[in-house]
Symmetry: C2
Subunit: 219 residues, 2 copies
């Protein structure tokens, strides 16, 4: 577990907390580390969750398959990101989505009750972690609203443009790399892959952008 302390230090959850203090807090927060092989399910739809999770190593996708086999990708989790925090409220039901490992991954599990219940003076930074958690979840909230904005567009072209231009804004460059391949991007935007592929080429022909694999350039 100790090997990942430097990783934890750079997460939003432990922002402002030193490595020694993080080490001291781990037991206080009920931390456990679990590893997953590529393709493993970290969380499954329908499960109940009592932990807040932080990705220490690897890559994950949040996704959902419906009865008809249509896959919908809700988002992408990179190293240091927090997840699961939306399902730990007492009245929250079971998980609505699967979380799948795209690579071999390592995940920290923190007991919710111990995270949000500020303990004795032993943990000087516990209050700060609670605030960090609040900011992190509110950030996730904003990114969900952002995604709703993409999906509210009527046409595939508008969805692509709003997504790509937002990414360009985030990455602060017209050259952007996205964490999805074609199928995954289609699942993320909830459109058909082939139709999207087709539309991308039309947009290129119209001089809106250039691309190669998962790298795009907006014009």
């Amino acid at each position: 577990m100790k090997e990942f302390i430097p990783v934890l230090k750079r997460t939003k959850l432990f922002a402002g907390v030193g490595e020694d203090d993080i080490t001291a807090m781990l037991s206080c927060l009920g931390a456990r580390l679990r590893t997953f092989k590529k393709g493993d399910y970290v969380l499954r739809q329908g499960e109940h969750l009592g932990d807040i999770l932080v990705l220490a190593e690897g890559k994950l996708h949040i996704q959902r398959d419906d009865y008809w086999g249509n896959r919908s990708i809700l988002g992408h989790i990179g190293i240091g990101e927090i997840f699961g925090e939306a399902y730990v409220a007492p009245e929250s039901g079971t998980l609505l989505n699967d979380v799948v490992a795209l690579e071999d991954s390592a995940v920290f599990f923190f007991d919710v009750k111990r995270v949000i219940t500020t303990c004795s003076s032993a943990c000087r930074f516990h209050t700060m972690v609670v605030q960090n958690l609040f900011f992190a979840i509110s950030e996730k909230n904003r990114s969900l609203v952002q995604k709703l904005d993409y999906m509210s567009r009527r046409t595939t072209r508008e969805k692509l443009l709003s997504y790509l231009s937002e990414e360009a804004k985030k990455q602060n460059s017209p050259y952007i790399t996205i964490p999805y391949n074609r199928q995954q991007l289609a699942d993320y935007l909830s459109v058909d892959r082939s139709a999207m592929s087709n539309e991308l080429c039309k947009m290129r022909d119209d001089g809106l952008l250039e691309f190669e694999k998962n790298r795009f350039k907006l014009l």
Copy 2:
């Protein structure tokens, strides 16, 4: 402000806190009460926000209009609900949406810094309010994921069915009342109103449901 203390007591934010304690906390939380006329903007896209808001009276919509005038309704705010909490993080940019009063309304504004910074012993329940806030925002997070689930459906019929059946589950009855008229429901699900109206009638003809105005019965 005092007239709304009983309302506050029943909100998720102050769950478990008595009226006297709420009264005592108001100044500690930097509470202000503002009133709005029907049609007024409570919040505007692009503004910066430093407060967490609670609706004391009235009804609100969270919505967004794009360049082409297409309106997208992100959600509905009823009495006692918290909003604005996603935009108070230090790095959060400006608001992505408008919040509009559908009726004459009254809104509590709480200074974020004072809410999430636990103060002296004077506020016995401050810690509880912070936890309540965490649960409330995580609940909102789940409802956003829920909405993403509706919107990820490919056809209008599937969107309607997933939305209505989820409402039936929430309201625990096949007879449900929704807070939207036709145009607003179409804006909420991001589909064309006339196409949706058409589809609703087809679904009725197919024996899936019955409806009158904003009241539906699932069969």
